[in-house]
Symmetry: C2
DNA sequence: CGCTTAATTGAGAGCCTTCAATCATCGTGG
DNA sequence: CCACGATGATTGAAGGCTCTCAATTAAGCG
């Protein structure tokens, strides 16, 4: 059964817990396994917070300030855990960027259970601050940075998440559209396109088709992101990033 | 001793734990009690994440994108717990807005300990998602909203946090300067001042001196914040907000 | 009461958005 | 396999919102 296979990998990979144990069994009772096709929003119970495990695929968590204003708050990939607010001032939804497999949990029950198990609790207490800190870095970008800095930062971050070496070149196959990128950075698609053009003409990147981007100069890209100067730390290539990817299964 | 008095109120009020128990004793060993005067930044160990309990006072958590670009990521008041990132792309610091009392913990050890105690774990698993969701709402504001909407939203949020009834009027005594407000909303002080003027001329608020703001029409203010339409839920006065304040000791 | 600092107000500039048109990409059907 | 159509992306011109720079006013403290 597909439910159990994803569920088992979930409890094992995310928490290092055996599915057959007390916590594993109780978690299984809470889980709602869902397959989402590209572009489809997850069926969420907006009465309370939800916790979602992205077993496979890629998703975006977006908030709607009004019907025509969407802010993407985070992207997620396989192995990530997402905490979704019940609708407060904004309405949130989780949408699949590519076909994805999800496990949806009611937030309160999930956390009640997590608190009773030291391993699971520690894991969540690791992931949630990470998600928070990412969100803060995003807030800094949205509040203080120029369009070019935001896009450079976005590409640098994506390189760490989904960067691959193809033909010896650091390559991104982005699952999200220009609109998604714009909605994530608080920019219009036109501005995203223009800034990409600037990076392209500067020789930092190359775009191939709609979704592929080749990173030529990650060090400069990171410097252009407007971060505090720690450029000596950046390696400059992405040959070692694949190994990092596996380790950073961070919530949000 | 001041250390113990704050510490005791901390473990009791924040977690409902007895200071004398196992967890209480271990927490006490990790705690670093600090008194901060207005304007002073907390002494943080930037080698790792930190968890800070704001026992008393008011603080701002700010990130520096560059030397002259500061983004305030959150404000905190007595009873709040703050999670502070070790410096990644941005350098974070926690600064007292008024004289404040803090308990500073090393993040890893604090969370290690929290995971072993169900009550403490549950408390943190309640607070961290709340902080995350607040940060997301902030990201929506920074990414999608106009200056006027941001300021209206800020005032509405502050009303829930520090709103008091004075002479029968809903009143805010803001501990932060216009610069702080601007740094929090991604705006300049001039823009903050201008938008305040608009709200004033619209009859929604009144400013008295530098720090006092009287809220005349919270319902309209909330509507102007550009949130999705749920105005029927907003009470319109702030007579019941003081009781809410006590209940929402949320991290960040 | 005077001084220092913060806040307000005004004018001009810049960055991003909006509106519009063209081009490219990719899935589909012949 | 190629042509075609639809959608997404790019490029250009004009406008708007916020920022910058500058001057004035107000507030709070000694």
């Amino acid at each position: 059964m597909a439910v159990h296979s994803h569920f088992d990998t979930f409890v094992r990979s995310a928490f290092g817990i055996e599915p057959g144990g007390r916590v594993g069994v109780q978690l299984a009772m809470l889980a709602n396994a869902v397959s989402l096709s590209r572009g489809v929003a997850a069926p969420l119970d907006h009465a309370g917070d939800q916790i979602v495990f992205v077993a496979q695929g890629a998703t975006k968590l977006s908030a709607h300030a009004s019907l025509d204003r969407e802010q993407i708050v985070a992207f997620h990939f396989g192995g990530d855990i997402v905490s979704i607010p019940s609708d407060g001032p904004h309405s949130y939804q989780l949408t699949a960027l590519i076909d994805s497999e999800l496990l949806i949990f009611p937030g309160r029950e999930f956390l009640d259970l997590a608190a009773t198990d030291a391993i699971m609790a520690r894991s969540m207490l690791e992931r949630l601050p990470s998600a928070l800190h990412r969100c803060r870095d995003k807030a800094v970008a949205l509040g203080q940075k120029s369009a070019l800095e935001r896009l450079a930062g976005f590409l640098a971050a994506m390189t760490e998440r989904v960067g691959k070496l193809i033909d010896g070149k650091c390559t991104l196959d982005l699952p999200m559209s220009r609109r998604d990128i714009g909605d994530s950075l608080g920019l219009t698609i036109e501005t995203v396109s223009r800034q990409l053009g600037i990076l392209r003409e500067a020789g930092l990147i190359e775009t191939r088709g709609r979704s592929r981007i080749v990173i030529f100069d990650l060090a400069t890209l990171t410097r252009w992101a407007g971060h505090l100067d720690r450029t000596e730390k950046i390696s400059g290539d992405c040959s070692n990033l694949i190994s990092i990817n596996a380790a950073t299964a961070v919530a949000d």
